[in-house]
Symmetry: C2
Subunit: 379 residues, 2 copies
């Protein structure tokens, strides 16, 4: 048991390039998104373990003494890295779900109980051990997702940007933090059906689609190269608008040979545009995503879908030269379309321990109401 309050956070994730192509052995770039999930761990004398997940409306408590009476030996059976479906079936009895509990809530509670019981049982809790955290986070992913790639937990653990290809995950050295908008079109879609559609298109038109996947792979690799070059580039936002002006008139920029942040930002925009067209050619676009791209392009900003497509989410690169009112204007235009819109950054730090003083007021206020729980989470 812990003697003090422990406050940690971990970032969300978006795919920068390589969605769908990754299914066919190509490179994907995943980046940590600075929309963070906060977790507050706090010891309590009530004899209960409490879970409070205010964002999805879950507040549950279990009697620790009762949990200790139950036979939990099934948790130790088998390899922890193989699917744990049978263990989860038995855990459902422990969880004791009320009848009106949604699937969404059940999965969140199961993931918590599985991690809590395994970690307590094994007495191996070490907050600083990223490898261990990543391993447990992967177990949580298995509970909720079923067949996760391991990218999501890895990005949330290590932060920054990761390259993923055929099961191999590696971190980019010093990826830059880039401002973006994350936009939810709120159009529901089935990732499974979209992945299947791409596979069918590849089978139907192999000579058309295979080179397209090769082109997407090259976009991911070029983006990786640009991100690594950005780490050493000197940003010069005041030159940016001039460069954009040259570009719009189809002229060769006088600065186009200079390895600075502006040239690199323009490259990132070109890669975003090309990949968005490629994803459309794969058949995973959607009119809502077209609208998203058009609305941001009307403000001179470049966007692509992120993830499965067919609706879902998109990202918009916010160039360093943009003013606050300019960003507000595009956000208003997007919310005017009925989209949800968050201004955030990618290349964010991974799982982090916080002191209360280091937190922004809104985060602290959100956490403040949760002190009654032994475990609490707020995103």
């Amino acid at each position: 048991m812990l003697s003090d309050v422990l406050l940690v956070s971990a970032p969300g994730k978006v795919i920068l390039h390589g969605e769908h192509a990754v299914v066919h052995g190509k490179v994907a770039l995943a980046v940590a998104l600075n929309l963070r999930t906060f977790l507050q761990l706090q010891p309590h004398s009530s004899g209960k373990v409490s879970l409070n997940l205010p964002n999805i409306g879950i507040k549950r408590a279990w009697d620790v003494a009762r949990l200790q009476l139950l036979d939990m030996s099934f948790l130790e059976q088998g390899d922890p890295t193989v699917p744990i479906l049978e263990k989860l079936e038995k855990l459902k009895e422990v969880a004791d779900f009320p009848e009106d509990c949604t699937d969404h809530e059940r999965l969140a509670v199961l993931a918590f109980l599985y991690l809590y019981l395994c970690i307590c049982r094994k007495q191996r809790w070490t907050a600083e051990d990223l490898e261990l955290i990543n391993k447990w986070a992967f177990q949580g992913e298995k509970v909720i997702h079923g067949n996760p790639s391991g990218v999501d937990n890895a990005v949330s653990t290590w932060g920054g940007a990761l390259r993923y290809q055929q099961g191999k995950i590696s971190s980019l050295k010093r990826p830059p933090a880039l401002k973006i908008l994350l936009i939810n079109t709120k159009v529901p879609r089935s990732t499974k059906a979209l992945v299947l559609n791409v596979r069918n298109r590849l089978l139907k038109f192999p000579k058309i689609v295979a080179p397209l996947l090769t082109s997407i792979n090259a976009i991911s690799l070029e983006c990786e190269r640009v991100l690594e070059e950005m780490a050493t580039a000197v940003p010069a936002p005041e030159h940016y608008l001039a460069l954009e002006c040259y570009r719009r008139h189809g002229l060769k920029s006088p600065a186009s040979g200079r390895p600075n942040g502006n040239r690199l930002s323009l490259l990132l925009q070109e890669l975003i545009d090309m990949n968005q067209h490629h994803l459309n050619a794969l058949g995973v676009g959607h009119t809502s995503l077209d609208q998203l791209c058009q609305v941001t392009m009307a403000h001179g900003l470049h966007s692509k879908l992120t993830g499965a497509g067919g609706g879902g989410c998109g990202i918009t690169l916010l160039r360093p030269d943009l003013t606050g009112p300019e960003v507000e204007a595009v956000k208003q235009a997007l919310t005017g379309c009925g989209f949800d819109c968050w201004e955030t950054s990618i290349g964010a730090p991974g799982v982090s321990v916080h002191t209360a003083a280091s937190l922004d007021a809104p985060v602290w206020q959100a956490l403040d109401g949760l002190c009654a729980g032994q475990w609490a989470s707020s995103s």
Copy 2:
């Protein structure tokens, strides 16, 4: 000199697939468009050769006796297949242009005078000889275009559909006649600048753009295959809507294994969509073309740019199952955007001789006013 009225027509042309990629050695498909230019040749006793091009407002006449007095020996100098810039400079004196004559008018008159004088001089006029017609048409192209590929005159001469790759032109066997809309966005663009932009993008991102061109090449080849299969397929328009319904819901159509016209029309639509996205990824799209695609897609129809892009023209495939009112609705929507729109067909016959009885009333009416001219043309 001819003793009777001769009435001939030749089709226009659109690129079905392969624009831009063709510059980089890939296959392009050019198809004859049934928007025809009519030419009426008529002997006259006025001692004048008259040219009447009502569509571009040209009505000129030259005294044949005066032309015979001029030294035209320069026309015989050199190879007729090499550029004829010097000859054209001398021809401008013969043409005797008024000061307010536009470049557009000058080029049309020069092309006419060059062909008229060369053909009269060589006494080789044979209307049935397609090879000869194609050769002279190519000379006209050289006058107007400067560095033509030879595709335009070949399509207008032979009609149907042609495959072009690295200077080699071959006709498709029995291409089907397909109904389309030809849409002019009326957004002006420079073909030269757009071709240069694609070349620069290929140099900048070789590993991204080269596979994209390979994919476009595969689209042209697949389209060629589909067009040839269509010639032997039995069309069954009444099944089309059901197939479209299956497709929209992402279901495998029960008829998708049947080699019929509907399955082939769906394939053509998919190829059109993929190529339009590819052309966008090459950077030759335009917001006007996006609008064109969206407007036709709202009516369930698939479109792509044709030619250089960056504005200019687009084509929309009209499926065989469409009713007259449905076609009218999409045409109205397009003209509502400020576009010009023609309902026509591709795979049209090449250069043809007509009898008056075989012509539609509007064509005949347009030609009827031109009997005063010895040569007359109307599109």
